[in-house]
């Protein structure tokens, strides 16, 4: 991914002061970038588990500052802005996270001689998350939530959502940010507006790099 970036040289933040973004967008994105790296919703122990989980659900490439997923998650839960709906068999978002992290810790300590999830190595963490995904974690600590439910309805929904809310991920996938105030005029397939990221097709890396320096 880092070896052959799909959008070489593209940084969506270059568009910050162009007509593509307005004051509202700048304010929202500035706040998102400057998210506090300290726990406010989670306890320090919960934060460590949440941080480890996010790293395994969405591993990030070396060579660039990672999207601060635990911090974004903490901020989202603190703000308590939910999805607008809740499934009947799921607790409220914040409660689900407190509950799920506690249950995961119970499972980890029971299976790994008292070591918490954050202390496991990556393979051990992946194995435990795999059990969670398949619903094979059945400690009574999961009662009222369900390991599989927590995995599919919180982990897989919250963490990628937060990842792709961050400008670093936008640059990675060539997204231009909100299509307001500036939208697009070349709507046909494989057409590109000058303020759109240029994709590096095979043999087009240098061209894309040059075009992406002028995406404003």
């Amino acid at each position: 991914m880092t070896d052959h970036p799909r959008y070489p040289g593209y940084d969506v933040l270059d568009k910050r002061n162009t007509p593509s973004w307005d004051a509202v967008t700048r304010r929202v994105i500035d706040r998102r970038i400057a998210v506090s790296r300290e726990p406010h919703f989670f306890s320090a122990a919960e934060w460590a588990v949440a941080d480890a989980v996010t790293r395994r659900i969405l591993p990030q490439p070396a060579g660039r500052p990672p999207v601060p997923l635990a911090a974004l998650l903490d901020a989202k839960l603190l703000a308590d802005v939910g999805d607008g709906f809740r499934e009947a068999d799921m607790p409220y978002m914040g409660d689900a996270w407190h509950h799920g992290i506690a249950a995961l810790e119970v499972e980890s300590r029971a299976r790994h001689a008292g070591r918490g999830f954050a202390e496991l190595d990556a393979a051990e963490q992946d194995a435990l998350l795999g059990l969670m995904h398949r619903g094979e974690l059945t400690d009574p600590a999961w009662d009222g939530l369900g390991a599989r439910n927590f995995f599919t309805k919180r982990l897989l929904s919250d963490i990628p959502g937060l990842y792709y809310s961050h400008p670093t991920a936008w640059s990675e996938m060539g997204f231009g940010g909100p299509a307001s105030p500036r939208g697009y005029v070349r709507m046909a397939l494989d057409r590109r507006d000058p303020w759109e990221a240029a994709q590096a097709g095979p043999g087009r890396e240098q061209e894309a790099l040059r075009e992406n320096k002028n995406v404003v």
């Binding site: 007509p19 105030p181 500036r182 070349r186 590109r192 507006d193």
Partner: protein, 327 residues
């Protein structure tokens, strides 16, 4: 040739005397009068140089050259913008830029040319422009039909504009007419294909105005006539077309003040249209600061002067009818 020039001088003389001698302010007319009185000889104009005065036929032809040039300028700017928007995806998309630029250039050439006789180069370019417009219409139709849904309202509204290439044909048609008018012998009543030139130009201009109105009507309908002024280009041109049709078939020995003023208004409308379209661009999100989107998303700035060009041709037709009544 010698006969031709002497006729031309006579013609100039008539015109100069008719129009300019009362004031006597122009040196030329006093020269002419002196020469008529036999006191001096009128120097022959240098070959290819400006000829003193011009026949009404050439004057009309030059007017129609300017009309063709105005439409060509509109097409040049419009096709350049819209085809840039289309990334010149198909190399053929350069064609209307070249054809309209050439049409504009030969129109300027015709505007400067005060001689009788069609010009082969101008004729070729005008014919090529006319043909390019027809082929372009074919391309635009193909662009519409190859979209999912084929020939549907959605695609007619949002694909390549079906009426746009026709404007290039109109530039070619007007230029071609200009050359036909100019091709008449000095001192004769100009005809085109055997019919009174004024009537032919009036009729074809009227039809062209209706076609251009169709394009404006389609796109303004797409825009839901959200601004009442959007009704102007579908209200003024049909009246102009009707007045021109009347001029084309009616008596030629009448002063058509209403037609003349209506055509002048149509000329103005095409220019004011650019202003309205500029306002349309400014009212899109981001306004002119976001011109790189809005100049393409908003109403096309260069489109309205097509009406100006056609109305100019209509005025030339009126001039021809008045100068050369045929009944």
């Amino acid at each position: 040739m010698a006969e031709g020039s002497s006729k031309m001088s006579e013609n100039s003389v008539t015109k100069v005397r008719g129009k300019r001698s009362p004031g006597g302010s122009r040196g030329m007319s006093t020269d002419v009068e002196r020469s008529l009185a036999g006191r001096e000889t009128l120097p022959l104009p240098p070959p290819n140089g400006p000829i003193l005065g011009e026949t009404t036929t050439v004057k009309a032809a030059r007017r129609i050259n300017r009309a063709a040039g105005t439409i060509a300028a509109s097409v040049l700017a419009d096709s350049a913008m819209e085809h840039y928007r289309g990334d010149f995806h198909n190399k053929a998309m350069w064609t209307p830029l070249i054809a309209s630029a050439l049409s504009l250039a030969v129109s300027a050439h015709g505007h400067r040319d005060r001689r009788h006789g069609a010009h082969r180069g101008r004729d070729m370019v005008y014919l090529a422009a006319g043909l390019t417009g027809i082929v372009g219409t074919g391309f635009h139709l193909y662009n519409i039909t190859k979209k999912p849904g084929g020939f549907s309202w959605q695609n007619v509204f949002y694909s390549a504009p079906i009426g746009a290439p026709a404007a290039l044909s109109l530039s070619g048609l007007m230029g071609f007419l200009s050359e036909r008018v100019r091709d008449n012998e000095p001192g004769t009543s100009p005809t085109v294909a055997g019919y009174s030139a004024g009537r032919v130009v009036a009729a074809l201009t009227g039809v062209s105005l209706l076609g251009t109105m169709g394009e404006a009507g389609l796109l303004h309908f797409r825009g839901a006539y959200h601004n009442p002024f959007m009704f102007v280009p579908v209200s003024v041109p049909p009246v102009a077309a009707a007045l021109l049709a009347n001029a084309a078939v009616g008596k030629s020995r009448v002063r058509r003040h209403v037609t003349r003023w209506w055509l002048r208004s149509t000329t103005l409308m095409g220019i004011l249209g650019v202003g309205f379209h500029a306002y349309g661009v400014s009212s899109n999100m981001g306004g002119w600061r976001n011109w790189r989107q809005n100049a393409f998303n908003g109403p096309p700035l260069p489109a309205p002067p097509s009406f100006t060009g056609l109305a100019m041709a209509g005025l030339a037709a009126l001039g021809l009818l008045e100068d050369h009544p045929d009944d």
